[in-house]
Symmetry: C2
Subunit: 238 residues, 2 copies
C-alpha cells in the first residue's frame, strides 16, 4: 500500500481544470480521481483534451451524486481551503504535510469548486484542513492545487508510506451510518425541531466526530451502541 491520495473534486466547473488536475495527479503517481456533481456533466471532452497522457485517469474517474458516497470508503479525508475558516478543525500547512502520520491507509484530499471552494457543510466531512501558504494573491487554480498536493505526497519515502496499521480505522461510510442513526434519533427531539438550528447542529456534530484522532471501526460501533441505548431509554421514559 502506498500513500497516493484519492483526489475528490467537488462540483468542479471547468472540464479543462479536471483534465489538468488529472495530468498533475499522474505526474506524481496518484490515479484515483472522484468527481462529485461536475457542472458540465460527464464525460467531458475538454477534460480529456487537457489530460493529454493522463487520459486513463479521466476514463477511470468515478462520478458521484453526493460527497458522502464519494468518500464512503476512505479512512482519512483532508479538505483544502484558500484561507483558514472559522472552524474548530485541525489545519496543516501543505509544506508540513509529510511530517504527519495519520495512520490511515485510504487517504483522500478534496478540492472545492473554482468559484467558491468548499462549503462549510462539505468541510465538515473532513478530518483536517490543508492550507497552502501563498502570497496575498491566494486565488490558486484548482489544478495547480491538485498538483501541489500530489507533488508533496509523492515526496514521501516509500518506507514511511508503507504504513502497517494494526488498528482498523473507521471509514467515512461507517461514520455516515452512525450520523444517519444519530440524526434520525435527534430528529425526534426538541434539539432538531428548528430547521436552521438543526442544519447548524448537524455540521457541528459531523465536525466533532470527524476530528477524532484515529477513530476505529470498533469505536464507531460502540458509539452507535451509545446512541441506540440513549434513544431506547428516552422512548421508555415517554
Amino acid at each position: 500500500m502506498t500513500y497516493t491520495p484519492t483526489i475528490i473534486l467537488v462540483s468542479p466547473q471547468m472540464g479543462e481544470n479536471i483534465g489538468a488536475g488529472a495530468r498533475a495527479m499522474k505526474n506524481f503517481g496518484a490515479t484515483d480521481l472522484r468527481i462529485v456533481t461536475p457542472r458540465d456533466g460527464w464525460p467531458n471532452p475538454k477534460a480529456e483534451a487537457m489530460a493529454v497522457g493522463a487520459v486513463d485517469i479521466i476514463h477511470n474517474a468515478k462520478v458521484y451524486k453526493s460527497l458522502g458516497e464519494a468518500v464512503a470508503d476512505l479512512e482519512y479525508l483532508y479538505a483544502t481551503t484558500a484561507q483558514s475558516r472559522a472552524m474548530n478543525k485541525k489545519c496543516v500547512s501543505l509544506k508540513n504535510l509529510l511530517a504527519q502520520d495519520v495512520g490511515a491507509r485510504r487517504v483522500g484530499v478534496m478540492f472545492g469548486r473554482e468559484s467558491s471552494g468548499l462549503t462549510n457543510e462539505e468541510i465538515s466531512y473532513a478530518n483536517e484542513i490543508i492550507t497552502i501558504d501563498t502570497s496575498e494573491f491566494s486565488s490558486l487554480n484548482i489544478a495547480q492545487a491538485v498538483g501541489l498536493v500530489c507533488y508533496e505526497l509523492f515526496k514521501m519515502p516509500l518506507d514511511k508510506a508503507n504504513t502497517t496499521n494494526s488498528i482498523e480505522l473507521c471509514t467515512k461510510g461507517e461514520l455516515k451510518y452512525f450520523f444517519d442513526h444519530l440524526f434520525t434519533e435527534l430528529d425526534k427531539t426538541k434539539l432538531f425541531r428548528d430547521e436552521d438550528r438543526s442544519v447548524y447542529m448537524r455540521q457541528n456534530i459531523m465536525n466533532i466526530f470527524n476530528r477524532v484522532d484515529k477513530l476505529s471501526h470498533t469505536e464507531v460501533q460502540a458509539l452507535r451502541g451509545v446512541v441506540a441505548a440513549l434513544a431506547s431509554n428516552g422512548l421508555q421514559e415517554n
Copy 2:
C-alpha cells in the same frame, strides 16, 4: 532583497500556459516574468484571460528576441528539464532546492517550450539543472512546473532569503561578453574551422564556465584578460 525567482519562459507555445504560469507565480510571490520568442506573439489575449488576478504580471512581462538578452542581468540561472540530460552539469531535485545556498541575489529559472523543452544550447546558459521527480509519466504542464518551483522557493524563510553577499557575482551578461570575446578569438583558429564542431565546442565551453561556483565579476574580468593575452601572443607568433 528576497529570493523570489525571475521566471523565464523560452519559446512558450500556448498563451493559456503563460497566463496560468503568471497566476501561479503571483500565488507564491514571484513577479518578474520574461518571455523569449513566444510562438503566438505578444501581447496574447489568452495569456491575459488565464492570468485572472495576476494580469499585472502579464502586462509587466518583458519579451526578448534571445535567451542571452533575457538573462543578461541574472547572477544564477537554473534550467528545468523533465529528465536529466547527458550533460556534465550539476542537477538538483526540486525538493532539495531550498537546502542550497547559491549565494546569488538575482536568480532565474527557465522553462522550455511545451513540445520539446529546452535545447542543449539553451541549457548551456544555466549554472545548474532543476529536475522535478515525477512518476513514470513525466510530462509536466509548463504552468504546473512554474507553480511547483515558485511554491518551493516561497517556502524559504525570509532570514535565509535576505542573503547579504560580500562577493559581487558576475552576471550572465558579463559572461556573455567574455564568451563573445573568446569565441571571436577562437573563430580565427583551427579549433573552430569545422562548423559542426564549433557549435558543439561553444556549448561545451559555455557549460564549463556557467558551472563555476560563484564566479565573480572580478574573476570574469581576469578571464577576459587571459583570453586577450593568449590571443595577442598568438598573433605575435604568426
